[in-house]
């Protein structure tokens, strides 16, 4: 799959933003006044900034409002509805902390759960794709949630929770990669089933339908990611999980904390790039590629 920068930025930063909103809503930290204002500005910059970035890859972003209508069947629509709901409820909760210095616990918990809901609905956009066997697995929503919760805890300065969640995230990610590598084969879609010609013999793509490239090949066939997958995985585990945990365990300093956040974000950006770049869509089989 083509790793579109706008979608990678969205997945990374909105995940962190909604993760931070979750911990704020649950009352893991209860800032008030100007302190609360700064916390919520950071969370909203990440969450909303990511959402805005995600509209950059749309052909017609001016029609985005229509995307709230099909929540009955579409995970993308559910994500939009959930995001607006979470951001509205958390704004009320934030206003209580900033302006009145009171914690409206009910709004906080609802907003926190809705924030997780946004991350979950995002992950299901990918996990529902039968055409991309690598994504169609429980590890996809699990990783989105763990990264959001872990990264959010890291931003919120919840050192112990962050360390535990990041270690869990690293383990689940390694498991997701290991099983994901076999999933395309296990799904059973082959050139034989794609063409229905397997009963005659071995099928080979002889001539593509066109001399140049096309939308399908640009969007779905991306082989660079797989070439360097092993090195990238080591880099991701180091930057997104290991280094932040080590920095958290060291005696607290603001420099270490900032480094942990920067390292985590760099790692998650790489992780998301690989998440797309490495995923194989079955349509590639019609082109004799994966």
């Amino acid at each position: 799959m083509h790793p579109a920068p706008s979608v990678i930025i969205f997945n990374t930063f909105s995940g962190l933003g909604f993760g931070l909103l979750f911990w704020l809503g649950m009352g893991a930290l209860v800032p008030t006044g100007w302190g609360a204002f700064i916390w919520f500005v950071i969370a909203y910059l990440f969450a909303v900034g990511g959402l805005i970035a995600s509209t950059f890859h749309l052909g017609h972003p001016e029609r985005t409002i229509k995307a709230f209508s099909q929540w009955k069947t579409s995970w993308l629509s559910r994500e939009g509805v959930c995001a607006v709901f979470a951001l509205t409820v958390m704004a009320i909760y934030g206003a209580g902390l900033v302006f009145a210095g009171t914690r409206l616990g009910f709004f906080g918990v609802i907003g926190a759960l809705a924030s997780l809901g946004v991350v979950f609905t995002t992950s299901m956009i990918y996990a529902q794709m039968k055409t991309v066997p690598r994504w169609r697995h429980w590890t996809t929503p699990a990783m989105y949630l763990l990264l959001s919760l872990g990264g959010g805890a890291l931003l919120a300065g919840q050192i112990k929770i962050a360390a535990v969640l990041l270690i869990a995230g690293g383990i689940v990610q390694i498991f997701a990669w290991g099983t994901g590598d076999r999933r395309f084969i296990e799904a059973g879609t082959t050139m034989a089933s794609a063409t229905g010609l397997g009963h005659i013999g071995k099928v080979r793509a002889f001539e593509p339908p066109h001399t140049g490239t096309n939308y399908l090949m640009r969007e779905f066939i991306h082989q660079v990611g797989r070439k360097h997958a092993d090195q990238l995985r080591v880099i991701i585990i180091g930057l997104a999980f290991l280094l932040p945990v080590v920095l958290l365990v060291l005696p607290f300093s603001h420099i270490f904390a900032a480094l942990a956040v920067i390292s985590h974000i760099a790692g998650v950006l790489t992780l998301r790039w690989l998440f797309f770049a490495q995923a194989e869509h079955v349509v590639g089989l019609y082109y004799g590629k994966r």
Binding site: M1, H57, L58, G59, H60, P61, R63, T64, K66, A67, F68, S69, Q70, K72, T73, S74, W75, L76, S77, G80, I125, Q128, M129, K130, T131, V132, A187, G188, T189, M191, S193, A194, T195, G196, L197, H199, I200, G201, K202, V203, R204, A205, F206, E207, P208, P209, H210, T211, G212, T213, N214, Y215, L216, E219, F220, H281, V282, V283, Y286, Y287
Partner: protein, 253 residues
């Protein structure tokens, strides 16, 4: 609405005969010709006259080489367009309701004025039947020439998809696959028509007819008695001539 309608009795679709298709791409050209100037946004091309030409097509013809365990390889031309699936995953993923399946005849269409160009329907389609137009930013797909098949302004023989109308080999057939008595349904039953990627669970309406088995050459050649080398009996004039010529310098042994 992107909820799939209950299965329609009428299931309009194509039957593509892989035995007959000669790979001329006439269907590709006629499809682009009709659909670029009729229903919806035109099908744009980018850098059409450069080395990096690319464009939007609703129908493309692949060619595959199939190597049986014994005998010569076969070359099979393989036209591919939207299969108008009964469980169309491209419809349910659409966040705006632009992508829909018609309740009355099962045709899958895009309402381009509602399409935000997110591309998710193309992700959900295992067949590569949908292409986002680079100029218009909306999703394009085969309409089964919905603006021809019901068009009473056209002569009756033209009320079929452009690709079917133009195919010089008669490799493409259009009809109601929901009606077991229709010509296309009979053709599918007779020739063992099959689904592409059945394991994806999309239940395509369009069917493909497999190439017919190739003739197997008989073990013996009926002309053999007339073509047998002479002088194998080791006697007579021909035998003497064979030996005599072989004995000359450079003669074939």
């Amino acid at each position: 609405m992107t909820q799939l309608p209950p299965p329609s009795a009428k299931k309009l679709g194509l039957v593509i005969d892989l035995d007959t298709c000669v790979g001329c791409h006439a269907c590709v050209v006629s499809c682009k010709g009709w659909n670029t100037e009729n229903y919806g946004a035109p099908l744009s091309d980018q850098n059409a006259y450069s080395g990096a030409a690319s464009g939007t097509f609703l129908n493309r013809v692949h060619s595959y080489e199939v190597q049986p365990e014994q005998g010569a390889a076969q070359l099979i031309h393989f036209p591919k367009s939207c299969l108008h699936c009964e469980d169309a995953p491209c419809v349910t993923v659409c966040p705006t309701g632009a992508s829909y399946k018609r309740a009355e005849d099962g045709i899958v269409l895009v309402n381009e004025s509602d399409c935000i160009g997110c591309g998710l329907c193309a992700w959900a389609c295992p067949y590569g039947a949908r292409e986002l137009d680079a100029k218009e930013g909306v999703m394009k797909k085969c309409t089964l020439c919905v603006d021809r098949i019901y068009n009473e302004n056209l002569p009756e023989e033209d009320r079929q998809p452009a690709c079917v109308r133009t195919c010089p080999a008669g490799a493409r057939h259009f009809g109601d696959l929901g009606d077991a008595e229709s010509d296309v349904s009979k053709l599918v039953a007779e020739r063992g028509g099959f689904d592409l990627m059945p394991e994806q669970g999309t239940r395509p309406v369009n069917k493909y007819l497999p190439p017919r088995p190739k003739d197997v050459e008989p073990e013996f050649d009926i002309l053999a008695p007339y073509l047998e080398p002479v002088a194998q009996d080791g006697a007579g004039f021909a035998h003497w001539l064979d030996k005599a010529l072989s004995a000359l310098p450079g003669g074939a042994k």
